[in-house]
């Protein structure tokens, strides 16, 4: 199944894509999406996959970004089965920018695999990739994120930050940040961290009367919400409601399983 989307020059658009409704299953051919942003266009692309969607989803996304165009992806994924997402983002025109923010939950028994490649094919391009991955007990996830700057590029900015949090410390999470920087004129920041919930944060909330399990839930939700812009939070608008619904289902499922364990 292939989908194509072209944003005309100078246009601005928002696409809310709900994954897992009629998607290809893992093992079969992946669902393919091709997006092309013409010069000076803008696309805000939401990708939502909740625990109530198809358990197994395979997805291949290609985004071509023209001169002065801006692509912003906000992904919220919390499947109950396998989710494989291959993404190829190409900044083809001068002044193009790409921002990818991912809030992902590896629920128990779930397996998430992200393979994201961002290539700066033109000068004066900017990319920013941030993924916060919450690993529930027995959840598994791999995030392989590569930023490429070919030789001869100028004034490129590339940022990459991958963070994983394991509230109960029993998830299997692999973060693989990769940088292939073959030009000198590049400002690049990158980082990858995996941690449990900090004791001082838990103590602060508990000292305010919030029970431990509720404090863990608050901090887990906050960790994910950091990837979602303020305007989309707390049920504002249609997208806000959709995000709240997916987050609520994911955290409820995560808490139920943690409790059972």
């Amino acid at each position: 199944m292939t989908h194509g989307l072209t944003i005309a020059a100078g246009d601005s658009s928002t696409w809310v894509e709900t994954l897992g409704e009629h998607d290809a299953i893992v093992g079969g051919p992946p669902r393919e999406v091709h997006i092309r942003l013409a010069a000076d266009s803008r696309l805000t692309h939401y990708r939502l996959l909740g625990p109530d969607g198809a358990p197994d989803v395979a997805d291949r996304l290609t985004v071509e970004i023209g001169a002065g165009a801006s692509y912003e992806q906000r992904m919220l994924a919390a499947p109950t089965g396998q989710f494989r997402s291959e993404q190829t983002i190409r900044l083809n025109g001068r002044g193009a920018s790409a921002t990818l923010s991912g809030a992902c939950v590896a629920l128990p028994q779930a397996q998430l695999d992200f393979d994201i490649k961002v290539t700066h094919e033109a000068d004066d391009t900017v990319s920013d990739q941030r993924i916060n991955l919450l690993g529930a007990d027995r959840g598994k996830a791999t995030a392989q994120v590569e930023t490429r700057v070919p030789p001869g590029r100028h004034r490129v900015t590339a940022n990459q930050l991958l963070r994983a949090m394991q509230p109960e410390g029993k998830a299997v999470i692999t973060l693989q940040p990769r940088l292939s920087i073959l030009s000198d004129d590049v400002v690049c920041r990158h980082g990858a961290t995996t941690s449990a919930i900090r004791d001082d944060e838990l103590h602060y909330l508990r000292s305010r009367g919030i029970a431990r399990d509720d404090a863990v839930a608050i901090l887990s939700e906050a960790f994910l919400r950091q990837m979602l812009p303020a305007g989309d939070q707390h049920g504002e608008g249609e997208v806000g409601h959709a995000i709240d619904r997916v987050l609520s289902l994911a955290l409820k499922r995560e808490a139920e399983v943690a409790h059972e364990a």
């Binding site: 004791d199 602060y204 909330l205 508990r206 000292s207 029970a211 608050i218 906050a222 994910l224 707390h234």
Partner: protein
């Protein structure tokens, strides 16, 4: 402000000892606080003042024992931190943590409702709560913009301490233990925080102010002043003791203990 007719003890601590990583930090603290009283605990660095605050609030990681450690007649040491808060204990942190993604108002409402549930009371409606919390911020002269921000994220030192006082005002504890609430504050911020404390003083609410310096006590008059040295309260008195400390420093107390205890 203290109600001297009220002899009922709000906080009673006797022989409180605490160790962390095998090192004994508190070596037998005795402290009694009555409703409405303000106590100041002073002392040099490393004498156990912050440990006392942390241990009272139930911070994990300490080995704690005491002959008596009661809040409102209830044994504190057997309680989880949240249960201590429900009982009416509030800890104002020396270094309030940043909680990115946790909205200030959301946290406060979660805390208020957690206490209400524990006390068998109905939860407060979001709209009513917002009105209440805005009124509290206004009453304290604090910028209501603090409420819409994430907890302490990007806050200046003064904003963090003001936020602690705002939380105190909303949570309405019986005993507030404020650990160096004056640290890192400029004069204006100190005055504002002190005014907040004074506004929140009442016949039912007590304070334990932990501080190194007298400048906070120039604005908030304490009923009792204590000096901690080497894990114990080595001297107690009234505000006159603060003057003596200013003149003679802390070493004088260390040399004279235990004769100075009230």
């Amino acid at each position: 402000m203290s109600d001297t007719k009220n002899n009922e003890l709000l906080l009673q601590v006797k022989g409180l000892r605490a160790s962390v990583a095998g090192k004994q930090v508190l070596k037998g603290v005795d402290l009694e606080v009555r409703p409405g009283e303000v106590h100041a605990i002073m002392g040099p660095n490393g004498t156990g003042k912050s440990t006392l605050a942390a241990v009272l609030a139930g911070k994990l990681g300490y080995e704690v024992e005491a002959e008596v450690a009661r809040l409102a007649g209830v044994d504190l040491l057997g309680l989880e931190p949240e249960a201590r808060a429900h009982l009416g204990l509030f800890l104002g942190f020396q270094y309030p943590v940043e909680l990115p993604g946790v909205n200030n108002t959301y946290l406060l409402r979660a805390a208020v409702n957690a206490k209400r549930r524990a006390l068998g009371e109905p939860e407060i409606d979001a709209y009513d709560f917002l009105q209440t919390v805005r009124a509290k911020a206004d009453e304290l002269g604090f910028d209501a913009a603090l409420l819409s921000r994430n907890v302490n994220e990007g806050f200046s030192g003064g904003e963090r301490k003001r936020n602690e006082i705002l939380q105190l005002a909303v949570l309405e504890p019986r005993l507030a233990v404020l650990d160096e609430v004056d640290s890192g504050l400029d004069i204006d911020a100190l005055r504002q925080v002190a005014a907040g404390i004074n506004r929140l003083r009442s016949a039912d609410r007590s304070f334990v102010l932990i501080t190194h310096y007298r400048r906070l006590l120039d604005y908030v008059a304490a009923d009792h002043v204590h000096v901690m040295v080497d894990g114990r309260i080595a001297a107690s008195g009234d505000m006159g003791l603060v003057d003596q400390l200013e003149e003679r420093g802390y070493e004088w107390v260390a040399d004279a203990q235990p004769a100075l205890v009230e």
